[in-house]
């Protein structure tokens, strides 16, 4: 069971921030090639991906099916761009495979599936991820493994009733090695949730279901790392961290853009965005 050095649960915020910048560059390069893609989501969630894959999670990039691994369950399939970036940065998939994102016949589909190492399930049909994560957490406990299960869903996904079925079950079965993230980017397909179908107050809802509930700025690495540590210490109940994130975070050009589920980018803007991030990284 020799695990790589990455298992150290003490998370280095500076390391996370540096990795997050690299993940954002990967996201931009992937999206640029196809001229579209869920670049806004990939940028917005980069800090969480970095905090998990370069801090909170125990895994071995050479053995993605290692039974004792911590699992990251991506329920929102259209965020795959963010997970591909993290998997490539972590060495689970080849870095140069990112150039195939969204290409016909490639395994890095825009809404990815479990044929890609590091994908624990096929997300995309929203409302599935948390239930499967509950099953994985139950299964690991039954098997006597201390592995953790992390799951990412989105604010609009809270409108799926199955999320609340799973939330009830996670608390009932006292799954304290299950941590859920809700990405509150406030952009679902038809607009912001407060207009489509209000999901607030989200932390209160989970707290009422019996979860430890926190809410942080999902693009504040220090706050994120602190919340992960609090969640890790919790016993007897599952944890939710509600993340207020900004779509397009890290690229002012996109941050300021009128927000859409699917950000439109002009061809010349990709180079400007990449140059901005490269300038930050150097």
């Amino acid at each position: 069971m020799n695990a790589p050095a990455a298992i150290d649960p003490v998370i280095d915020a500076r390391e996370v921030a540096a990795r997050a910048r690299r993940l954002r560059l990967h996201v931009l390069r992937m999206a640029e090639r196809v001229g579209q893609g869920y670049v806004g989501q990939g940028l917005g969630i980069a800090d969480l991906m970095a905090a998990l894959w370069f801090g909170a999670m125990r895994y071995d990039p050479r053995r993605p099916r290692w039974a004792d691994r911590d699992r990251f369950v991506l329920s929102i399939g259209h965020y795959s761009i963010g997970l591909y970036a993290a998997l490539a940065e972590a060495g689970v998939i080849p870095l140069d495979e990112l150039t195939t994102y969204g290409a016909d016949g490639a395994r890095l589909e825009m809404s990815g599936g479990e044929e890609v190492p590091g994908f624990e399930m096929t997300g995309g049909s929203l409302g599935h991820g948390l239930g499967q994560a509950v099953g994985m957490a139950l299964g690991n406990r039954l098997a006597g493994r201390d592995a953790r299960t992390f799951c990412l869903i989105s604010d609009g996904e809270l409108q799926e009733g199955s999320i609340w079925e799973a939330a009830m079950a996670a608390a009932h079965h006292r799954l304290d090695r299950l941590t859920l993230f809700v990405d509150m980017n406030r952009q679902q397909a038809d607009g912001p949730p407060e207009r489509v179908m209000n999901v607030e107050p989200t932390p209160d809802k989970f707290a009422a279901f019996g979860w430890q509930a926190q809410r942080v700025d999902g693009n504040d690495v220090t706050a994120l790392v602190r919340a992960l540590e609090l969640a890790r210490r919790e016993r007897g109940r599952p944890q939710v961290i509600v993340l207020d994130t900004l779509m397009g975070k890290g690229v002012p050009l996109f941050e300021a853009r009128e927000k859409n589920h699917f950000i439109r980018v002009a061809p010349e803007e990709w180079a400007m965005a990449i140059a901005h991030l490269e300038g930050q990284a150097s």
């Binding site: 399930m121 409302g127 239930g131 099953g135 957490a137 039954l142 199955s162 079925e165 009830m168 079950a169």
Partner: protein
């Protein structure tokens, strides 16, 4: 009515006249499978006592997981458990599994190739509870999902064998459940269920009856009655709707192109459709009559009343056989 009741009814009170029954064959078969394979778990959506899963829960309390009334979650959690190496058997009723949890079965279990077994009670007209509880179109829904094994067992013997087969199969399975006091049509010593294989129970040159689920018992009764009148009836039992044993069906109907299908299910999308597809694809000219639930939700009432009203009795199969001979 006594004939139909003998092999037809699943409610305890209606099976007392059956020549032989077995109690909770699924529950006992799952315990046997669980003794052999520690990966097997039992999950239910608040219907453990009503799906014979209580037998497993009593034997293996630590391997029984109550999910509550949440069928999407039942299947979702089962998929997650399967991904950590377990073999979860989930029980509820056909109507709830297929109507409520369809996307979870299609995407979580089938597309994800999760090793999940869905065992669903009250198939077709095995309850008098009306349209909310009678699973009349579940086979059509499940058969349409790529990669999902769909089984409709005939009796207690096959229920037990299919449970063992589902446990041994690496992949998602939808298994119709016959619960409680279940009639025994097949001899456990001689009957051999295998996923994807039809059984030619008897041969005959005049009419071919192709049946699935509990309708096979009634088809055998119809064949007996017709034999007494000099009509030679072949009975092909097709317990697996998917993968479908097309070769067995075509071998038979090519020889005997006067066919009756019989299923405890609507006549669209289930066995009759699978048989018709095979016939059309093979370019055969066949006379076909379909016994099954017509295109409607069914009434409430006693099982004998319902199967007479919707023409699922042995005599209805025999009438259809005479019609294709005419």
């Amino acid at each position: 009515m006594s004939t139909a009741t003998r092999t037809g009814s699943i409610l305890t009170s209606d099976t007392l006249g059956a020549a032989r029954t077995a109690t909770a064959p699924f529950g006992h078969a799952l315990v046997a499978a669980g003794e052999r394979d520690p990966r097997i778990l039992g999950l239910t959506a608040d219907l453990g006592k009503y799906t014979d899963l209580h037998v497993f829960a009593e034997r293996f309390p630590g391997r029984f997981i109550q999910i509550g009334m949440a069928e999407q979650n039942l299947v979702g959690i089962a998929c997650g458990l399967a991904r950590t190496g377990f073999v979860p058997f989930c029980t509820t009723y056909c109507v709830f599994a297929t109507r409520r949890a369809y996307d979870f079965i299609a995407i979580g279990a089938a597309l994800g190739r999760a090793n999940v077994k869905i065992v669903a009670g009250l198939p077709g007209l095995t309850t008098g509870y009306g349209g909310t509880h009678q699973g009349i179109e579940d086979l059509a829904l499940m058969r349409a999902i790529p990669g999902l094994v769909v089984i409709d067992p005939a009796d207690a013997t096959e229920m037990a064998q299919a449970t063992a087969a589902a446990a041994a199969h690496d992949g998602p399975v939808y298994l119709r459940l016959l619960r409680g006091q279940v009639p025994q049509v097949f001899d456990a010593q001689t009957h051999r269920f295998a996923i994807g294989r039809a059984n030619l129970l008897r041969d005959g040159a005049d009419v071919a009856v192709i049946a699935t689920g509990l309708m096979t018992g009634r088809a055998l009764e119809a064949a007996d009655a017709l034999a007494a009148q000099g009509v030679r009836v072949a009975v092909l039992h097709v317990p697996t709707l998917a993968p479908f044993d097309r070769d067995a069906v075509l071998d038979l109907v090519a020889r005997v192109p006067r066919v009756v299908t019989a299923e405890n299910h609507v006549v669209s999308g289930g066995l009759a459709s699978a048989v018709a597809d095979a016939i059309v694809d093979a370019g055969l000219a066949v006379k076909l009559r379909r016994i099954g639930i017509p295109d409607c939700f069914c009434a409430s009432g006693s099982i004998p009343y319902l199967i007479e009203r919707y023409r699922l009795r042995a005599v209805d199969i025999a009438d259809a056989a005479r019609a294709v001979l005419a």
